[in-house]
């Protein structure tokens, strides 16, 4: 799992293709989520992880491999990553992976990760569709390497055996030292992510994306019972629109009059 010192930094970065949440609309009648035709984008949080990976590579040299588990369309997220400067991209795609929860997602990613000579794994802090922030830590667990979340600063030791990081918390920050290999979940406080250049896009178009199916992962030693919905400890039996409240009392017209009625009501509730 650890590369020899001569190889330099070997970074594996997990990225996700997500629906553009701001484009999601509710059906005006049923209030259920309309998913069709919603554009997909590279998870915005993963751009910070990419930024971290690219900067580390610029300083220390090495290789950056991006991996994604998802439907064939997830190629787009990988292509974007290549355009930004990743060296290699791998897509884990199979119907068997569908409806994976965070545990099954992390498991599936870990099977592939174990085939690489990585010494650092990076992930985004969360994916904007599920917003769980769980996959990073669970992936680190399956790889049996230490991890840190909410990472805003990364200092790699010269000998590449350890890393000092800062973690952004609600009311301050922590400074930790981790041995390599380790997994870091990168926070947006890390710094403004770069944009891909036109040359980047042109280069990315020529790069091949490696595809691995469930069958391929089984050949690498995966237990297919752990894939997708079947392998997921959690599942979602039902979704519903947020409940509607009983209608409130609403005044319009003369503002003076409305305000008087409101203050009356608030007095009755004991606030005035």
């Amino acid at each position: 799992m650890v590369s020899g010192a001569s190889v330099g930094l070997n970074i594996l970065l997990a990225v996700k293709q997500v629906p553009d949440v701001s484009e999601l609309r509710l059906d005006p009648v049923t209030h259920s989520l309309l998913r069709e035709g919603v554009p997909s984008v590279l998870n915005p949080y993963d751009r910070y992880a990419l930024e971290a990976g690219l900067r580390l590579k610029e300083i220390h040299g090495g290789r950056l491999t991006v991996v994604s588990m998802g439907p064939p369309q997830a190629r787009k997220a990988l292509q974007e990553s290549l355009a930004l400067g990743a060296d290699e991209a791998v897509l884990l795609t199979d119907r068997a992976f569908a409806a994976a929860d965070t545990w099954a997602t992390a498991y599936t990613l870990s099977v592939f990760a174990k085939t690489l000579p990585f010494n650092m794994v990076l992930t985004g802090l969360k994916a904007i569709d599920g917003e769980t922030s769980q996959v990073g830590a669970e992936l680190a667990e399956f790889l049996d390497i230490p991890h840190a979340s909410y990472v805003r600063k990364i200092d790699l030791r010269e000998d590449m055996q350890g890393v000092t990081i800062e973690r952004q918390l609600e009311n301050g920050y922590d400074v930790w030292e981790l041995p390599l290999p380790c997994l870091l979940m990168v926070a947006k406080e890390f710094g403004q992510p770069r944009l891909a250049t036109l040359q980047g896009y042109i280069r990315a178009k020529r790069q091949k994306i490696r595809i691995l199916t469930a069958h391929d992962l089984e050949a690498l030693g995966a237990n297919s019972a752990n894939f997708g919905l079947k392998g997921s400890p959690t599942f979602i039996p039902k979704v519903s629109p947020p409940p509607a409240k009983p209608p409130g009392t609403i005044w319009s017209g003369d503002p003076k009059d409305s305000v008087r009625k409101l203050v009356d009501a608030l007095s009755r509730e004991g606030f005035v």
Binding site: D101, W103, A137, T164, E170, N171, F235, A244
Partner: protein, 369 residues
């Protein structure tokens, strides 16, 4: 959907027997900057509500160095039992040592439910722990129910709050959940409640403590920005038009005790308010007694953060604004007219009431109320 519902029904006796070994509703009692976090106390309310339905006990897990002093507080807020894991190596949070310590206790005691606050460190711990225990974890839930099969229904807003999902873990124990701060209100403490405490000594090897914590830097939170604790919140949106105009909301807030000013994401992104006071899906969940929603549209991502408020007052010039669908009282009008009038009217009513009380005391014979 029906196929998926079937999926939640566990029938084979071997699995049922295994699941039945797990008993107890647990909460993780997080210590931060020398005290228990608010959400650690709120979790006990959620835990008790489940325990009431399943007939189980509520236990809290305390981890750190010299943390036994928090046992009394946890029992006062609802714990029947407290597990204390004390070790100098657990002085401050590190994902590897904490995970292993809590995992050892959990494997030995087998709780059926394990709740964590959705604070950064606690959800970090919960994620890694779920991986180690090979169980499910539902993130950022706002409500818990127990279904007719005795399974924990973990309810969470998905897709930026556009949907509410129910998460089940039918075949795995413990059923683990992180709960957003503010989702439950902590109980009135009862310091006469006694709980039992049990000390647990984890077996930590070098390999479990690979992370070195070099520094913990903490800045105290400005009380005016501590919106999760406010009784009254005056929240503003893009309708305020400028940073300066928030002074108007500060004046309104100034009329109430324990009141703070908060806002929507758009407002915080503009820099009109600090991001620490953003209410909603990607901000904070609040549950004040009174919530003023002023010049904000009531986007679903905002609503999920404030829907537990007891009374919602909406002030918006657009009668069609979503916020009017969730308000208790609403005024359709220009906030720059309505809010100053409201401030004056509240002051006026208070002065009148004071005067009345004084006249009554002066004018009535002693003995008469």
């Amino acid at each position: 959907m029906s196929a998926q519902s079937q999926f939640g029904v566990v029938t084979d006796s071997e699995t049922l027997r295994r699941l039945a070994e797990y008993k107890g509703i647990w909460t993780y009692a997080e210590v931060e900057s020398g005290q228990l976090t608010e959400v650690s106390l709120e979790l006990l309310t959620g835990a008790r509500s489940i325990a009431k339905k399943t007939g189980e006990q509520v236990a809290s897990v305390l981890v750190g160095q010299e943390v036994e002093r928090f046992v009394a507080e946890l029992s006062a807020f609802g714990a029947d039992k407290v597990f204390v894991i004390q070790d100098p190596r657990l002085r401050s949070y590190a994902s590897d040592s904490y995970t292993e310590a809590v995992a050892q206790l959990t494997r030995e005691k087998k709780p059926s439910v394990f709740l964590f606050g959705a604070n950064r460190n606690a959800r970090d711990l919960a994620s890694r722990l779920a991986g180690r225990l090979n169980t499910g974890l539902a993130a950022d839930c706002i409500k818990l129910e127990v279904n007719e099969r005795g399974q924990l229904e973990q309810i969470r807003p998905d897709f930026g709050g556009k949907e509410l999902s129910v998460v089940l873990a039918p075949r795995h124990r413990p059923q683990m959940t992180t709960i957003r701060p503010g989702s439950y209100r902590k109980q009135e403490p009862d310091y006469s409640r006694v709980s039992s405490s049990e000390y647990f000594v984890p077996k930590l090897s070098e390999n479990h403590c690979r992370i070195k914590v070099l520094k913990n830097v903490r800045q105290p939170i400005d009380p005016s920005e501590d919106i999760e604790k406010a009784t009254v919140l005056v929240s503003g949106g893009m309708g305020l038009r400028s940073k300066e105009n928030f002074e108007l909301l500060r004046r309104l807030a100034g009329l109430f005790g324990n009141a703070s000013v908060a806002g929507t994401r758009s407002v915080c992104e503009k820099g009109w308010l600090p991001s620490s006071v953003q209410v909603g899906q990607s901000g904070k969940t609040v549950s004040p007694k009174l919530y003023f929603a002023v010049g904000l549209s009531g986007a679903i991502q905002h609503l999920v953060g404030m829907q537990n408020s007891e009374i919602v007052v909406a002030i918006n010039s657009d009668a069609e604004a979503q916020i009017f669908k969730v308000c208790t009282y609403g005024i359709v009008g220009d906030l720059f007219q309505v809010v100053p009038l409201l401030i004056d009217e509240i002051k006026k009513v208070r002065v009148e009431r004071k005067l009345m009380r004084e006249t009554v005391t002066v004018g009535t014979p002693a003995g008469d109320p």
